[in-house]
Symmetry: C2
Subunit: 650 residues, 2 copies
Amino acid sequence: MSDRKEFRDLASPAAAREAIRSLDLMPDPESVPLSETRGRVLAERVDAGIDVPGFDRASMDGYAVRARDTFGADEANPVELDLVGAVHAGATPEVAVEPGTCAEISTGAVMPDGADAVVMVERTDEVGGPDDDRVDRIAVRTAVAPGDHVMVAGADIAAGARALGPGTRLTPREIGLLSALGVDEVPVRGRPAVGIVSTGDEIVRPDEELDPSRGEIYDVNSTTIAAGVAEAGGEPVLYPHAGDDYEEMERLLRRAADDCDLVLSSGSTSASAVDVIYRVIEERGDLLVHGVAVKPGKPMLIGRLDREDGGESAYVGLPGYPVSALTIFRTFVAPAIRSAAGQPEPRTATVDGRMAVRERYGEGRLRLMPVGLLDLGDGTAADAPAGDPTLPLVYPVDKGSGATTSLVEADGVVAVDPDTEYLDRGETVTVQLFSPDVRPPTLLGVGEDDPALNRLLDRLENPRYLPVGSREGLRRLRDGVPDVAVTAGPTDRDVDAVGIGGFEREWGLVVPAADPKDVTGVADLVDRDLRFVNRPPDSGLRRSLDDALDALAETRSVTRRELSDRIDGYGMTVRAFESPVRTVRDGDADVGLGLRETADRLDCGFVPLGEQSVVVHAASDRIDRAAVAAFTTVLDDLDDVVAGLPGYSA
Amino acid sequence: MSDRKEFRDLASPAAAREAIRSLDLMPDPESVPLSETRGRVLAERVDAGIDVPGFDRASMDGYAVRARDTFGADEANPVELDLVGAVHAGATPEVAVEPGTCAEISTGAVMPDGADAVVMVERTDEVGGPDDDRVDRIAVRTAVAPGDHVMVAGADIAAGARALGPGTRLTPREIGLLSALGVDEVPVRGRPAVGIVSTGDEIVRPDEELDPSRGEIYDVNSTTIAAGVAEAGGEPVLYPHAGDDYEEMERLLRRAADDCDLVLSSGSTSASAVDVIYRVIEERGDLLVHGVAVKPGKPMLIGRLDREDGGESAYVGLPGYPVSALTIFRTFVAPAIRSAAGQPEPRTATVDGRMAVRERYGEGRLRLMPVGLLDLGDGTAADAPAGDPTLPLVYPVDKGSGATTSLVEADGVVAVDPDTEYLDRGETVTVQLFSPDVRPPTLLGVGEDDPALNRLLDRLENPRYLPVGSREGLRRLRDGVPDVAVTAGPTDRDVDAVGIGGFEREWGLVVPAADPKDVTGVADLVDRDLRFVNRPPDSGLRRSLDDALDALAETRSVTRRELSDRIDGYGMTVRAFESPVRTVRDGDADVGLGLRETADRLDCGFVPLGEQSVVVHAASDRIDRAAVAAFTTVLDDLDDVVAGLPGYSA
């Protein structure tokens, strides 16, 4: 084995936070046009540079008067004033109001010289002149005091007054005030530049071609973390991927340090890549923390990289698995970026919930446990899982940290202290959401995967569906977390559930187009030399296939096992309903287990073996939930949903 | 008067909402690069197009083996296997694992042919070959089952499986999953294009020169609403301002309708501009709603504008005052933009609070009352204002809707039903924040405005300070809403408050540089022909000036009134501490009341008349609040704060 670094003497999470706090990520302030300031943070106080309004301003439509002239006027005894002209908004007054006169004035117009109040138009009457075709006098039916319906210059805000303080986050209203002050270039906190260097040999960017035979996978962490950086108020800078060219990787790391306030890399599975990082830090920088007592995240690195210009860049090495990388980023790095950008901790970044199951722990280090959330919201089923019925349910998501789908099957993490032995069912926990914008699903479904079901789910608002297969789906429904389980084919589990709808689908054997090997049924798999590709035992298709084998075994008076042992590939199971069909289409098998729909869609041949029922079961204590009712409604519209799906019927 | 439209037969708020719902703002979906999708909403379901991983993948560092070869192995009885080579991540395996052999394998590497499990490196030992300098055998100290530490192809997500549903808002984690699937162009909901046409003759854009003598003011609504549109998920399009060129305005409105899904204008104070809007809608469009029974917002218009291409654009006319425009936008328009963009209602858009005062109402139409918020948070002072002590205080902000500063002095609005007569003190109300990003202040201060105070406020996190003057400040402190009041000069009000700090400032008469009229003191104002500019009676400077006049009156055995009547401009008061100084500097007065600091800063001369104390008073039941304690701490560091401020001492 290569000579790998060991993570001994793990730092405590508190020490890791302290180390990150000691790094300087603070960018210089900058000046940006007002129209681009939304969400930015003021770098300094902004005082008013002008009076607002900049003039004594009429705040009503009416007549500008000398208040003294109206004293004593009322409905019964109006005062008549000579009309000397009009002043409109946006125009310099061309009249002055002498004693005994008035001028028509619009809201927002400049008060003419001499006038000190406005009479609302509603309290006046026009009085005809000698010829009656031209108004030349106004009857005023109320008395006004000086200043009435006038906003004096600077009354809104006066030049020199404090308008907005440093650290103010700019939302539409602050932008409005800056606009009123004529501030069109705004001093704001800089966004820390965060360089993201991807280090795995096997990593390919999403816009490139993938070669799975070389073990290549798409780069998940760079894009996830880049989005997280932007969300925290930083400016992500993605560096090109160096592949297995270690000199290039070293050059990129140094360049990122020169360009950025912070450099992030995510743990590579390649020892050589890790060695490059160590070499760069050791030659030009400091390693402050090497391993942290937190799960996941043990291999976290924290350090400083020297710059060409004599300055320093901060460096954090994140773990490699996507959920681990996002968790460690969110817990340790995002707060530092926000702080450098002057952004507040978002109010929606954490939510309280209650454990839907009891979860054992006791591993001696801080665990950041990935969890899913389900907000029962409407309060039904309140007492099914214990705990505060107003809180959403929280359940652990453990697919292994390598799974990228955990990113969307979990909503965040619960921090479990090293000395916690277990979290009890119903216990209140705080969930740190992966992002403040995470919206927990309204409905949790589990079970079979199916193309018609996918169309149904498309019609629901924000559902989560875990395709765990029929048997596992029913098991989870019985355990009380999901709202619904979907089964296909025969089932034998008893759960306290209500069928809320379903449909029929045609299943059979999928063969290459035109069926070159002339496959006619299950017996061919047993008797002929055909490469088969199967689905796992917990899937509905597999249950139906096994039933067909049982029937064949009975006619031959043998056991099913005796038949299945003779099928080449019976044990070769693939994950999704489309997988066997793809295997056949790609020429890697002669026959696959599948649906007519999939065979048709992927241009394969199909040997029908029967129909099986797909049934949606709702937990009986969740039937009244709005989200379950919505699912039931959608199921009522099946004809429309299955239209155009070959082999389906409502 | 011009022939203005009257708003009769006001629509109900519900009818206005219905009218807006009937408009079609929905833009076409679009395809955007993955790196630009944060915050966007998926337009359609995304199914996995590839298996992830695309190959059987080692999920541990160790040795790839045939599981059967390890059966029976344990710590006491290791099994030795021949090492036939190594497989690294990102490389095609060049070895096959035959019975009795193994291959070194890195996490993420492709499983070599023949191997079906991985033994962790920690459960193995290297065994030297004949020459002992080259490892050629591995001792395996554990048994593994087929599949152990192997992630099979498609186990994370298989081709054809549902990955993300339509309507999913894209946060870092969803972006990560799309990245794993190699989706680099993402189908997302379009952002509705929202044209903003400004219609007032007096409106000037913030990057242009302002001429206050013509009654010009900076455009507040266009920028505020543009930021609100972007926040709601729309794409604001600002059209150039047409000023008083009504043909151009008409052309712009038609162009905006042609280009945009929605056109917004905000109420003009100019009748002619309103007439242009009516003409455009009447000639080519429909007016659905003309006036709504809501305060503010009565003059709201809702309609449709025909497009050149035969389509339609929605149109909403907002009221003209900034707070009214933002309130109506937030209440009626933003939900429609969000809905068209597929964006959810933000969870932080509303907060509950308790009324800090009793507020009378009863106006017969829905009132959207602007309010400020103060989160007492730490629970101290819990019972001072009544109501649920965990809720923030809510107090009405009524500066007149024309004030742009209301935008930042209020945090949102409370909807008060037409039949509500009053909101009681302590009553729980729901505040619709002006924006989901609004953060209510941590501290509410009122009172004198002062440059050293401004520096102190800069050191606090998110304070709100209302410069209402010393007397009004104390009055409000007594009424129980603010935390602190700041007074300057002599005060005579008794309030239950604790002085938490203060400083001295030098005040006097401000004159042009070099004092061309040789002003020496207050007597000159009375005895000579000097144009004076004063501050309002509730300011600390005015109180000190009046005290000086009292002293002079006593020496002359006259009343203060007799002296002040002889001062030209004694009644001419301006708003902020800097305002009299600016008036003098600009040549519009010979002498102004002000501070040495301001005189020095604006290059004016200064005739000192004395020092006055500025004192920070905290409400006695708020002393323990964290924000008040932070203010006290900042006050302890006064020497630093007043350093470089002429005329100040701690």
